[in-house]
Amino acid sequence: MPELLQVRDLRKYYWKKLGLLRPTTQTVHAVDGISFDLRERETLGLVGESGCGKSTAGRSVLRLIEPTSGEISFNGRDVLKFDSENLRAMRREAQMVFQDPFGSLNPRLTVAQIVEEPLVIHERMTGSERRERAGEMLATVGLRPEHLDRFPHEFSGGQRQRIGIARALMLNPRLLVADEPVSALDVSVQAQVLNLMGDLQERFGLAYLLIAHDLGVVRYICHRVAVMYLGEIVETAPVDDLIRSPLHPYTEGLVSAVPVTHPRLRHRREGLRGEVASPLNPPAGCRFHPRCPYAMPICSEQRPPMREVADQRHVACHLHDAEIAKSTSSKEFPASVGKNSPQSNPGAGIRKGGNP
């Protein structure tokens, strides 16, 4: 399928003033050179710990915030060169859904006003045409047209998330960037919204960039996943491969930290020690090396480049550099990952020369 979105070496830095007497400016490397592709009708998950830059990446792609540098191509056109007119046109095709169903809807507007707003900006339509479209869209997301004249506070969390999705779909977009769309919802309601997102993808041919931290959600809804750590993407893979045989030691830690699904599967896990470092002062070399159980001397010196190590599998880790792996062959490659993938091994993907 053709690429809908191509992101190359995207960066977003913030500058922060620290200190009162002799203020110094420090750079927050919120997103620091990420690249990924998204195909039509595809769902790409963006996962990683709090503060690793997922939301910043998602917003930069839509230019809801201005990236510091990089390239973004949407539908073959250079998004960073867009003037405000082009940007407005792009917003028809690429929309955002936010995490917080409570904070993201204006409490003083009726559902009709909220859902119709994109039409007011982008389309020449009469009031009654707009209302009809809005009523249809509410029905599409499982609400009823009579909800149009109510206010957001009259709805439950799941219903509010549906309103946000209805609004984002009003202009028939091809891409939705969804920032933790179900994180604030109870599981029973989360299931409703995830099913809805699946149905809508099928029906309208949507592509999703899904920002999430729950690997269960990601496994269920995503085709491919990009794992972020401290502003960088460290691994991309088809979702089942990623969970079955994570290649990057950080991904391995993330997967093995997920709680078991049955008490009989309990086990002592090695787990990731330490905490996320600060994007103010990212470690040299591989940013993960202070927490990495397999770190080698080179890891604190050289930043590992992203390599394609098997079909559709990319990883930025010195362990997966064939040369380095050879020279340190005495050293064991990362061992068992945990209950979800007892035989998996971060070296396995390449050593066996492909995906299981």
């Binding site: 710990e49 599981v187 029973s188 299931a191 931290h213 269960g216 809804i221 787990g271 996320v276």
Partner: protein, 324 residues
């Protein structure tokens, strides 16, 4: 005899919309050294239940509408103010979902932690400091001496939660109530904190009431578990029995609604529980789950099902308990 017995507890709120029956005839017990999970969705009464045990709810609007809470031969709902204050922190302590709200932002970690030893244990400043360092070491805070000089905002979420656990365990309570202790944390940090709580249970023998909305945390931690729905216990069991076979359709619904990491990924749909939780001021007549229940029959609307015992210690409140 169990360490704690909650028996027929009712905690209601007077609200402008009417009486909200947040905890409505809840019974459960906690054995010494046991991890007892309480799981349920938002608003089902988990926090109100735990705050009721320590009498920390504002009255009004809350009031106690029935039941007993027995702990060490006393009814916690009847003991004097000074006695409950003594029990809090010394015998039962609590950690909260948002660790920031429970730490005082204007005092250092050291001040707050040594204060616990001085007030509850009556030890001098030097010895309090030594014990504080020991406790921070026990809960895995690196460089504890340095941390004592820091303020809460200088710590990460995971470190703050460790400090909270250190404070809660300072007086070696018999029971720790942990209200969603890992909900605000990343999954890798959650795994560390859960490991820590398990280790402390082993080494100190502290019983833990673990409140969560995450069935994964239950599977990972609990000895026994109660599932709450709209202010009542829907099902209660040994943890393996519950994950082997659910008796209540709500529990079954929850289990199927979780997008799981295990098994074949059904490319198909997740099982939804239709509808939403009922309004606590306007509960349905019979079974509270009836409007959303796939098994409901006419009788379910007439009479509220009592919590009854089935196989072993497995209990459920459902007229069709165990029906597939």
């Amino acid at each position: 005899m169990p360490l704690l017995e909650v028996d027929g507890l009712r905690t209601y709120f007077r609200t402008p919309a009417g009486l909200a029956k947040a905890v409505d005839d809840v019974s459960l017990d906690v054995e010494e050294g046991e991890i007892r999970a309480i799981v349920g969705e938002s608003g089902c009464g988990k926090s109100v239940l735990s705050l009721s045990i320590l009498r920390l709810l504002p009255q009004p609007p809350a009031f106690h509408a029935g039941g007993e809470i027995r702990f060490g031969g006393r009814d916690l709902l009847k003991v004097s103010q000074s006695e409950i204050r003594h029990i809090r922190g010394n015998e039962i302590s609590m950690i909260f979902q948002e660790p920031m709200s429970a730490l005082n932002p204007v005092f250092t970690i050291g001040h707050q932690l040594t204060e616990v030893y001085r007030v509850h244990r009556g030890v001098d400043a030097r010895s309090a400091r030594r014990q504080a360092v020991e406790m921070l070491t026990l809960v895995g805070v690196p460089a504890p001496e340095a941390r004592l000089r820091e303020y809460p905002f200088q710590l990460s979420g995971g470190m703050r939660q460790r400090v909270m656990i250190a404070m809660a365990l300072a007086c070696r309570p018999k029971l720790l109530i942990a209200d969603e202790p890992t909900t605000a944390l990343d999954v890798t940090i959650q795994a560390q904190i859960l490991d820590l709580m398990r280790d402390l249970r082993e080494s100190l023998g502290t019983a833990i009431i673990l409140i969560t909305h995450d069935l994964g945390v239950v599977a990972e931690m609990a000895d026994r578990v109660s599932v709450m729905y709209a202010g009542r216990v829907a099902e209660s069991a040994e943890v393996e029995a519950l994950f082997d076979r659910t008796l209540h359709p709500y529990t079954r619904g929850l289990m199927h609604a979780v997008p799981s990491m295990a098994g074949d990924r059904a490319q198909s749909r997740l099982t939804e529980i239709g509808g939403v939780v009922p309004n606590l001021t306007d509960l349905p007549e019979g079974c509270r789950f009836e409007p959303r229940c796939p098994l409901a029959v006419a009788y379910c609307r007439k009479k509220e099902p009592p919590l009854e015992t089935y196989e072993g210690a497995h209990m459920a409140a459902c007229w069709r308990a165990g029906d597939a």
